[in-house]
Every structure is written in C-alpha cells, then in structure tokens.
C-alpha cells in the first residue's frame, strides 16, 4: 500500500480506471500513510478522513455505474488551508480563524469536487501565506520530509511536504511571491505558479490580491498538468480572472525542447546563491541543451528591486485585506469592554508576529504622505519589472534559473531575521510582480541529500512551454523518482 502512496496521479488514475484498486482502498492507503507519517511531518491542519472516505465511496459508486470519470476522480488530494471548503475548517494557519468554518467553497474546490477528487485534508502554511518556511503558522510547525531538522519552505509548506511524504497524491498551493515554487523546491516536488488570472481566486483567502495565484503541487509534471486542467479557466466570480480558454495542458507533455530558446539572466547567477544549487541548475541547463534547447543570455535589470517592491505592494494590499479580521463577524474574538478595545485585543492576540509586521508595513506604505513615495513607486517599479520580462522574452521562450538561492534551511535559522527570510524568495518574487507563470521542477540533490529546484519562467499564458520543457527535462532525469527517507 505504501507503493500506492508513492505513485503519481496519472498512474493512480490508470489503476482506478482499470479497477485494479478502488478509490476507497486508495483513500484508506493514504489515510494510513497519514496516520504513520504525519506525527513526524505535521503537514496538515485538518485531516478530513470521513469526508475523504465518503467522497471515495461516491467516486467508486459513480465508476461502478459506468460513468466516464475525469482524471482526478477518486484520487486523494490535499488543499492548502487558505482555500475555503464548505463545512470544513479553514484557518489560514491563524489563531484568528482557528474556528472558522466557511459556508461556501472556493471555485478551485468546486472544480475539484466536480472532478470527484477526494479531499484528504487541509494543509499547514505560514499564517495568511506570509512566510517562506511555514514556521509562521499559528497552528504548528511542519518538518521537511527529507530532513526533519529543516523547514519545508513556505508558505505552502504543508502541501509540498504532504505530497513529498506520500500523504496526498497531489495538492493545491497558493503563490504570492514564491509560495508554491520555493516549498516545491525544498521538498523535491513539482510546483507551478500559473499566470495571474488563469486560476480563479474566489475563495482563496486573500493575502495580496494582485499577486496571489493558486496552483498545483505534484510528484511530476504530468500531474501538474492534470491538476492545472482541473482548476484553470475563467470564473465569473473573480473579476480579475482572465477571459482565456485554457488548452488541455497534458497535450504539451511530449512537445520536447528542440529549438527552445532558454534565457539565462545574469542577475540569477550572482553571489548569495548556494554553490551546490548553482551547480545543479547549471547541470540542468546543460541537460536541456543536450535535449535540443539553445541558451541565450538575457537581462532583468530591475530584478534587484523586486524584493523591496514586493514588500511594499504585497503588504499594502495585505493591510487592507486583513482588516476584516476584527472579531465582529466571525473567527476569534478577544473579550473587551468596548468595540475599539475588542478590535485591538482581537488583532493583537489573533495575529502572529510576521502578519502584524506586514500589516504595519503595508499600513505605513499607504499612509497619507507616504502613498506616492512607497505604494505608487512600487507600482511603477512593477511596471519596469514587467517590461524587463517582456524584453527578455523577445530573445527567449523560457527563462531558467534556481527556484531558491539555497536548499531547505534549518528550522529556526532565519526566524529572527525577517530580511534573510525575505531573500529566500529573491528568484520567485519578480514572476508574481510581472503576473507571469513559472514552474519549479526537481533538478538534483545536495551532498546532504536535500532537493534542489530548477525554475522555468514563461510569459503570460505560457504554461504550455513550462509543461513541455519541464516534462522533457524530468523524463530525461531520475530526480523526481527519489523518495524522502520518511
């Protein structure tokens, strides 16, 4: 049964379709795996065993009735705890929402239900998706399946760890500045950040609305394509959702990289990047060249300003998005004598340090007298960063580089130094600022047996290129077959 839990979705799909296993059996296998491994990993805020078995039985019944079921039918998946699930606790890993049960489903959740996917649980994360290690969770810490002394990355650390440790066949994460790709890189799995607007944000608890995007975390690229197929597409409930008819992403798996122009920005190879990471990425690029791709040098001259820009516009939006958690309508409420005190105590006690830090930063950036200098300037730099990419993509089809400057770092290593933690997203952040898409795919291991991720970046709605290139690379290597020791 452990074997089942190590398989990618597309293999499980085939087993289910051939009736070699039932969804209930499969779900039991995953729940058993969770019972065994979760104490060491702590990837979930909630494990929804009853719901999962119910969904699995329904999927089996539908299959027995002869229905032609979609690829995710009967397959256990995990959902990051910032996506609303009707009737299922959705905490954002925050004390302030520790008791919040949404009365509605996020659009992605509706779509997964439509696929008859099985929900095995809601995964741990940095509180309100603010962080790069999942250490900012107000609920618990998650441990990296490759080395429990290390972080799984973040903010979608629970989703990445759950997939890496075989506790879910695939998962949804959300990525505001790298929160899908960086944990995927740290946990040795695939993580795809779709183009802004490709996947509906309705029901995703907002951190930074202009940057947030939901995407898949999976064992391999084919699974990423299957998950993306399930969740992509216009949603009338999300005004920022693109009017774009997504193709079948699995149709690009075999396209290969022959003639593909890979841009190598010199800004991504600078100092500060771990030599082992640099070496792994360089080797991956050579492998792509062997497969027929060509490399070109490109420039992203404004990328040094990406982190600063991000911490202005993301925090500004967050300061407003998180204003609703005040103890009045739902969630945690601290007792107080009057409403002002109630606000103040509820928010002081309900939010963690990093969330409060960002709310203050964002409030400041929007304040009268600072708005132009901070918020508006960040928007202007965003435009420049977007133009950098536009110019680069005139010379190349995809951009390659490391996903993160280091492999998974030790728990506690950066918690006292927010700036060092912020730099963990240095290669991923500019993609969100530009609204384009990127994927992280395993590309090697350090001497300590820690996974390293290769990031491929494509222009808006260039997910086809990402899937084609990442799949070609993946199939030519064995990295994605390695399993963590847990």
């Amino acid at each position: 049964m452990i074997d089942l839990c190590a398989k990618p979705i597309h293999e499980l799909r085939d087993l289910l379709r051939r009736r070699e296993v039932s969804s209930v059996e499969l779900t039991r296998a995953f729940l058993t795996r969770i019972a065994t491994v979760e104490p060491a990993i702590q990837a979930f805020v909630s494990v929804t065993g009853d719901l999962a078995l119910e969904q699995a039985a329904a999927a089996d019944a539908a299959r027995s009735a002869g229905e032609d079921l979609p690829p995710l039918a009967g397959v256990p998946v995990a959902i990051k705890d910032n996506m609303c699930t009707n009737g299922v606790l959705t905490t954002c890993s925050s004390r302030i929402l520790a008791n919040f049960v949404p009365p509605y489903d996020a659009t992605v959740v509706t779509r997964l239900r439509g696929q008859r996917a099985v929900f095995c649980g809601k995964t741990n994360m940095d509180e309100f998706a603010m962080g790069s290690s999942t250490e900012n969770s107000g609920i618990k810490k998650t441990f990296n399946p490759w080395d429990p002394a290390r972080v799984p990355g973040g903010s979608s650390g629970g989703s990445a760890a759950a997939v890496a440790a075989g506790m879910a066949a695939g998962a949804l994460g959300s990525d505001t500045g790298g929160s899908i790709r960086q944990p995927a890189s740290f946990c040795g799995v695939v993580g795809l950040k779709p183009t802004y607007g490709l996947v509906s944000r309705y029901g995703l608890v907002a951190f930074a609305s202009s940057l947030d995007q939901i995407g898949p975390i999976s064992r391999d690229v084919e699974d990423a394509a299957l998950l993306l197929n399930a969740i992509a597409g216009h949603d009338p409930r999300d005004s920022t959702s693109a009017h774009f008819d997504p193709p079948d992403y699995t149709s690009f798996l075999q396209r290969g990289v022959r003639g593909l122009r890979i841009g190598l920005p010199k800004e991504f190879s600078g100092e500060g990047t771990d030599p082992e990471v640099q070496a792994a990425v360089a080797a991956a690029v050579r492998k792509l060249e062997e497969l027929g791709a060509v490399t070109v040098e490109v420039e992203l001259p404004h990328s040094p300003y990406a982190v600063a820009t991000y911490y202005l516009c993301a925090t500004a939006e967050a300061s407003s998005n998180l204003a609703r958690y005040d103890g009045v309508h739902y969630g945690f409420r601290a007792p107080a004598d009057n409403v002002i005190e109630m606000y103040s105590r509820t928010r002081s006690q309900g939010f963690g340090e990093e969330v409060k830090r960002r709310i203050m930063l964002g409030t400041y950036a929007l304040s009268a007298g600072y708005y132009d200098a901070f918020y508006l300037k960040s928007l202007r730099v965003r435009t420049l960063i977007r133009r950098d990419f536009d110019a680069a993509f005139e010379k190349c089809d995809v951009i390659a580089g490391p996903t993160a400057p280091t492999p998974a770092f030790r728990i506690g290593e950066k918690t006292s130094d927010p700036l060092a933690m912020y730099l963990s997203d240095i290669f991923t952040i500019s993609v969100n600022l530009a609204g384009i898409c990127a994927i992280s795919v395993p590309c090697g291991f350090t001497e300590d047996n820690l996974p390293v991720g290769l990031q491929l970046i494509a222009p808006s709605f260039g997910e086809d290129r990402l899937i084609a290139a990442a799949h070609a690379y993946e199939q030519a290597t064995e990295w994605h077959r390695r399993r963590p020791p847990v």
């Binding site: 920022t240 005040d326 009268a368 708005y371």
Partner: protein, 497 residues
C-alpha cells in the same frame, strides 16, 4: 412633501438668533443616494428595504474570507445617468478604490469606493432661488457600496450592539458639490432640485426616511461680499431637509459667534444632535484621519466606451422639461398645470396613471392641483404611499363625467377614500350616493323646497335670479346632494320663472 413648503425666512426671524449681516454661510453638499437596482453592487443579494435583519446577505456582502466583488453593470449605468444629467465629464476609464476604516457595520473594514478616478467629474446643477437662477458646480459623482446598520438594544444597560448587514453592499452614488451656496434658501433649492432630478432619472426612490437619500453638509462662514473661503466644517447625521436647514442656521450662528469673539473655526467633522438642536464634535475615535485609499486590486478598470455612454444617454428616462412639454401637447394642459404637475416626478407619475385609467386630463389635473396636492402636503406622504390610488382618483372623475355623482358628492367621496383607503366606487355604492336623475323624484324635493321657502319664491318671481341658486341649494340639501343640479335648475325655472 411638506419640506417643499418649508419657509426659511420664518426661522431666521427667530429673535434668539443673532443678526447675520456681517457673515454669510458658504455651503456645499455631499449627497449619498442609494440606487434602486434590484441587486447589490458586488453580489446578487436583493436590495429590498425593511426585511428581517441579515436575511439579504451572502458570503460576498458579509465580507467572508476569500470572497471577491463582481460589479453590477446596472449600478454603473445609474451612476452614468446621474453624472450625465449633472453635466459631468465622463472619463472613458475609471476604477474603484478601497477606503480603509474600521466600523462594525463595515464587514471588510474597507469600503469599495472611488477616489482617484471617479465616474463623473466637474459638471453643474442649476437651481431656482429667490434671487434667480444659480449654478452649483459639481466636484464629482462617484460610485460606492453602502455599509450595514448597527442596531442598539433598547435596554439602556445593554453592553452590546447588533449588526444588520442587509444594506451592506447596496449601491450608492455620492454627489459632491462645490461650496457654491450661500444661504438656507440656496441649500433648500439645491436639495429639492437634486431630489427631483434623481427621481426623474429613476435611479433612486429618494426616500429620506428610509435613508435612501442622505445629505452631508460642509459649511464655513465668511464676511458677506468677500471671496476668501473660511475653514469648513463637515456635518453628518442629517436625516431630513428640515434638519439640514436647522443645521445651517445653527452652524452659521456658531461659526459667526466664534469668529466675532476672536476665535477660530476648527476644520472637523461634526454630528448633528437632533435632541439638542445643535452640532457636536465627533469623538476622536469616531474620526478616521487617513482612509489610505488605494486602487482595489479585486476589481478591474471600468471602461466606459463611447458606445456604452451613448446608449445610456439614448435611454435616459423622460426628464422634467420633456414631460412638461408632453403634458401640454399630449394632454392639452395649460402651461401652469403642466409645470405644477411635473414639479415632482412621483406626482407626475401619479397623474399619468390616473389619466391612463380615465382619459380626462384637464379634470384630473384640476383634482391633482387642488385636492390631491393639498392632501399630500397635509399628510406629508409621498404619492406612492397615498391612500387614494391613481385608479381611485380616475374613478371619481369618471363618475362625475358619467353623471353618476355630483361634484359636491365627489369631494365627499374623495375625503372618505383618502381617510379610509376605500375604493371610491364602493363608497358611492355602499352609501347610496348615486345622483338622482329621475325627474319625478327630483320634482318632489323641488316642490317641498318651494313650499318651505315662500320668501325665496317671492324674490325669484320678482326676477331676482341670484335667489335661484339659493333655492337650488335648498333642494340639494334636501336630497343630501344626490339630486342632479341640472334637472333641479330646469324644474325651478319651469315652475317659477
């Protein structure tokens, strides 16, 4: 309706008020108008007034985690209509901003509004004042969402308040004028003209008592005849036009006194305290100093294409001038009648509905201008809430036209119908008020009257025609108004002349 007749001069003659010769007020308005769209601005909940608390809500207007707004296009069209009618510039692109402040009736703790790029800018509204036509310039017209309501328990010892979010997310437009008014008369004319225009535009039912039309004032004073603006004070919580006028008087007096005593007017927001008949400064905690406006990243730019703008303009409802002209041409009304009837859209609509039910425009116009308007004013009700419906008024005039009731009986029936809400035809039936046209029956009353009033008979016989009417009156009295006056006249003439 009473407000239309409110006399500003009466109040300013109050001897307790100081003379205002030296200082004059400078007045501008921020007017909030709840739009009468069927659904809310960012979700599909209904906007009906008066439903049980929190029954017209969904995750979106409750501000649940993760929800997103989707703009109601109809609300944009209503705002466009208003901006056009106020002669605003309508930029091709505008967007929504978040206005950040904490209040328990505001579920997201920010209001989606427009600050940096409004749906309409500039513009003007002409008002008729005792001193002639005056042009009030507009600063902007913008679109936003309404907040919910706090319900404070009646028990004074209660240590809680309740929140009703039925209203949260109702579309609002805010109409911001320049400070171009300098008297309570100006302000009254502005409020009435604007309300009238909004009613004609069919964008709001403007019911002030339901909070659908809300006036906020900004007011400063300056020495009469000077140009420099003084420090302005904003006043909230003004629930009626009367209150606004009282507030203008009070603030003018307060600020004038401050300046005359060598003090200084503070720039601040004040609340009208109805019980005290005065404004008071808001507690510092009630004031948001910095709304930290920024473009709402959950909404996309509104693109008002020239085609869309033209389509909205082409489908503007009939406005006052057009309706007045049509009343003259189509109904053959005199200019005077048409002007009075079209002074208020609800009155005009009432009249049109009555004409549709009984096409005697002039007779109905007479009834409107005398009986109906008098009762509406006396009862302070809107035509829509008037006990006598347009069809009822039409029925009364029809019964007169068909000779079923006399004009005098009709007045009684009208009074009864207005009082009780009963159907006029049913009143006539139930109370046996149908006119008697049977000559034999009428003759009995005439003979009785002749027998009982020999002095009148003598005068008539002597050629005093005026006395004929007195005798007719006696006959009508005997018949309790039911005798057909024409027949009565004929019979008297035949018998005595």
């Amino acid at each position: 309706m009473t407000v239309l007749n409110y006399n500003c001069h009466e109040r300013t003659k109050d001897p307790s008020m100081p003379a205002m010769s030296k200082y004059e007020p400078v007045i501008g308005f921020e007017v909030h108008v709840e739009l009468c769209t069927a659904t809310k601005i960012f979700c599909s909940c209904p906007t009906t007034f008066g439903s049980p608390p929190n029954t017209q809500v969904c995750p979106v207007c409750l501000g649940m985690p993760g929800v997103l707004p989707v703009l109601n296009r109809r609300a944009v069209e209503f705002a466009l209509r208003t901006a056009m009618a106020l002669n605003c510039n309508i930029p091709e692109r505008c967007n929504f901003d978040r206005k950040n402040y904490y209040y328990p009736d505001l579920p997201k703790n920010y209001q989606i509004s427009q600050n940096y790029a409004c749906i309409g800018t500039g513009g003007w509204l002409d008002i008729e004042t005792p001193a002639g036509t005056k042009r009030v310039r507009m600063n902007n017209v913008h679109l936003e969402e309404d907040a919910g309501k706090l319900i404070h328990p009646e028990d004074p010892g209660a240590d809680y308040s309740l929140v009703d979010l039925n209203r949260a997310g109702t579309p609002l437009i805010e109409i911001v004028s320049e400070p171009d008014m300098s008297s309570a008369e100006d302000a009254l004319a502005y409020m009435n003209t604007l309300k009238n225009l909004l009613e004609y535009l069919e964008v709001s039912d403007c019911k002030m008592q339901e909070g659908r039309l809300r006036f906020e004032l900004n007011i400063s004073v300056r020495e009469a005849g000077t140009e420099r603006l003084g420090t302005k004070v904003e006043v909230k919580n003004l629930n009626s036009m009367k209150t606004v006028l009282k507030c203008i008087e009070h603030e003018t007096w307060r600020q004038t006194r401050l300046l005359e005593e060598g003090g200084r007017v503070m720039q601040e927001t004040r609340l009208w305290d109805e019980a005290a008949g005065a404004t008071r400064a808001m507690r510092s905690k009630e004031v948001a100093n910095d709304y930290r406006y920024f473009p709402d990243p959950d909404l996309v730019e509104i693109h008002v294409t020239p085609e869309w703008r033209d389509a909205v303009r082409a489908h503007l409802p009939e406005l006052q001038e057009a309706k007045r002209r049509r009343f003259i041409e189509e109904y053959g009304l005199p200019e005077y009648d048409a002007r009075i009837l079209t002074n208020s859209k609800p009155v005009a609509s009432y009249y049109e509905a009555a004409v549709a039910a009984h096409p005697n425009p002039k007779a109905l116009s007479n009834w409107m201008m005398t009986e109906v308007l008098r009762e509406l004013n006396a009862r302070e009700v809107e035509p829509a809430d008037f006990a006598l419906k347009p069809a009822g008024l039409a029925a009364i005039v029809r019964m007169i036209d068909e000779g079923r009731i006399s004009g005098k009986i009709a007045k009684d029936v009208f009074a009864k119908a207005v009082e009780s809400g009963r159907d006029p035809a049913e009143i006539v039936q139930a109370e046996g008020l149908v006119q008697v046209t049977d000559a034999g029956e009428v003759e009995k009353w005439v003979d009785e009257a002749i027998a009982e009033n020999p002095d009148m008979v003598e005068k008539i016989r002597a050629g005093n025609t005026k006395t004929v009417q007195a005798l007719v009156g006696q006959v009508m009295k005997k018949s309790r108004g039911k005798a057909n006056p024409k027949i009565v006249n004929e019979l008297i003439a035949a018998k005595l002349c």
